[in-house]
């Protein structure tokens, strides 16, 4: 860890409280939200700041998540800094407007306290909600713990609002495991965060009057946003969004370095974070809080002389293809952990993407997919040990029984 430049205070916060504090310190102009478990504390905490007069933020209590994201989008296109939060069914209800937000190039920041989708109803953590929004044109970051979610929300404004990116971003924190668990979180001063995030810089656009003006709804410089676009031009705007995703790859890395210089904390290269991977023979590819459990397990395995490692995908969109190829090419076998299902597909979403990225390697590891932890099913070191045992086995035999397996499922 690098040396920290600024004074920091250690507070006992759960993940949701850390999110609310980070949003508050990032000087958000508008928060529009609707409460849903396990995101509720974020909204409760933020409304407390508003009630106490601790923030100047316009807080909009909407009647649904569809309205919450619509209000956030509307605020964002006026040039305001907008924040919202949701989970599970709430995120699903936002689905339509998620695409409108990314297509409108509105850099809304949203915390997603990842939770299973109904039916049957389940309030516990898995990645079904945000994985279902994989193609909505949002940047996706998944965190490991409460400290990282605090840091990532602050970074998210800088990433999303970069004029070359100008895309919305969702930061996923595992429901309950991170959202409700009290942890020691090092926090920055209000002033430090305000300076780091800075004022929102708007991209410049040319209006129908031929004027080059900041990209915002402004009565002095009127412009038409979100118009009907014919087949002759729609495609081109989608290609622009893809280019912005590519720019985000650099911006996420840049912000990760800049933040580390300030705080002493970094998360891999901002895209992927590795643990004991350099000399590893077998490794697990994972997203979210399970990483912490895996680190304990890898320490145990290393003591037993097993060369095990971890690769955590922090940024899922844009997908860090080159970084994954370079980090995983030397391994004999890898297990890809999916905390959501793609029903009828060939494995979970993380598996299909990672395997796809590794296909171009001349020599690639043997790859197994584990679906695990659905609906908050516990994933403890004893259960996860089986994954490494399987990997050791396949490196010896070269044989896989099933490419897609279910970990912790009652047979």
């Amino acid at each position: 860890m690098a040396q920290e430049k600024v004074k920091q205070e250690t507070l006992a916060l759960n993940g949701d409280e850390a999110v609310a504090l980070a949003a508050k310190q990032s000087d958000v102009d508008v928060v529009a939200a609707y409460p849903i478990t396990p995101q509720t504390i974020i909204v409760e905490k933020f409304s407390e700041y508003v009630a106490n007069g601790e923030v100047k933020t316009e807080f909009v209590c909407t009647e649904s998540e569809h309205s919450a994201i619509t209000a956030s989008l509307a605020a964002s296109v006026t040039g305001a800094r907008a924040f919202t939060a949701s989970a599970s069914a709430g995120l699903a209800l936002m689905h339509e407007i998620l695409f409108v937000t990314s297509g409108s190039r509105a850099p809304v920041v949203m915390a997603v306290a990842n939770r299973a989708l109904s039916s049957p109803i389940n309030i516990h953590g898995d990645h079904s909600d945000s994985m279902a929004e994989r193609d909505s044109g949002w940047l996706h970051i998944y965190v490991e713990n409460a400290q990282e979610v605090y840091d990532s929300i602050i970074q998210a404004f800088r990433i999303a609002e970069d004029p070359e990116v100008s895309l919305p971003i969702m930061v996923g924190l595992d429901g309950f495991t991170i959202s409700h668990t009290l942890e020691n979180v090092k926090v920055l001063s209000d002033e430090t965060v305000k300076q780091f995030v800075g004022e929102r810089i708007l991209p410049r656009v040319i209006t129908h009057e031929g004027k080059t003006v900041p990209f915002k709804l402004d009565p002095d410089n009127p412009m038409t946003m979100g118009p009907n676009v014919s087949p002759a031009f729609y495609f081109e705007f989608k290609r622009q969004q893809e280019e912005a995703m590519k720019k985000a790859i650099n911006q996420i890395q840049k912000i990760n370095i800049e933040y580390a210089a300030l705080t002493g904390r970094s998360y891999g290269d901002g895209l992927i974070d590795t643990y004991q991977l350099t000399d590893a023979e077998i490794a697990v590819v994972v997203v979210g809080s399970t990483t912490g459990t895996l680190k304990v397990l890898v320490d145990e395995l290393r003591n037993e002389g097993i060369k095990a490692g971890i690769l955590r995908i922090r940024t899922f969109r844009p997908f860090p293809v080159e970084q994954l190829q370079n980090a995983l090419k030397h391994l004999k076998a890898i297990a890809i952990m999916d905390k959501s299902m793609s029903f009828g597909g060939f494995g979970g979403p993380i598996f299909t993407e990672v395997r796809n990225a590794l296909f171009d390697l001349k020599q690639r590891p043997i790859i197994i997919n584990y679906i695990f932890g659905l609906g908050g099913r516990d994933s403890n070191p004893i259960g996860l040990r089986k994954v490494f045992e399987d990997l050791q086995q396949v490196t010896k035999t070269g044989q896989i029984d099933d490419t897609v397996q279910y970990l912790g499922l009652k047979a």
């Binding site: 656009v205 040319i206 990209f215 946003m225 118009p227 081109e236």
Partner: protein, 96 residues
């Protein structure tokens, strides 16, 4: 596509419109067009108030109702609501 059309790198962000909505002539969608009989018209302006496109307009200089066929979508509300039946919807004659 003509050669003058902009590619994805040159188009402005997020489909910010290069024209205002009235630059797009939506009147060519129609099948039927309103034909206005000034002898029957009593200038009650019912059509002006009810036209969803603002295509029926009162011309104060000439003192009569006019139809802007560039924006009339041919819905026929004006003809249906006209109290003196001064408006009838007709198929435009084909241009040879």
């Amino acid at each position: 596509m003509s050669k003058q059309e902009k590619g994805w790198k040159d188009l402005t962000l997020a489909a910010i419109s290069s024209k205002v909505s009235t630059d797009f002539l939506t009147g060519d969608w129609k099948v039927f067009m309103p034909v206005h009989n000034l002898e029957k018209c009593v200038s009650c302006l019912t059509c002006v108030m009810l036209c969803p496109e603002g295509a029926a307009r009162w011309n104060s200089e000439l003192g009569k109702v006019e139809f802007d066929l560039s924006f009339c979508k041919g819905c026929g509300i004006c003809a249906n609501e006209c109290p003196t039946k001064a408006i009838v919807m007709k198929m435009p004659e084909k241009e040879e």
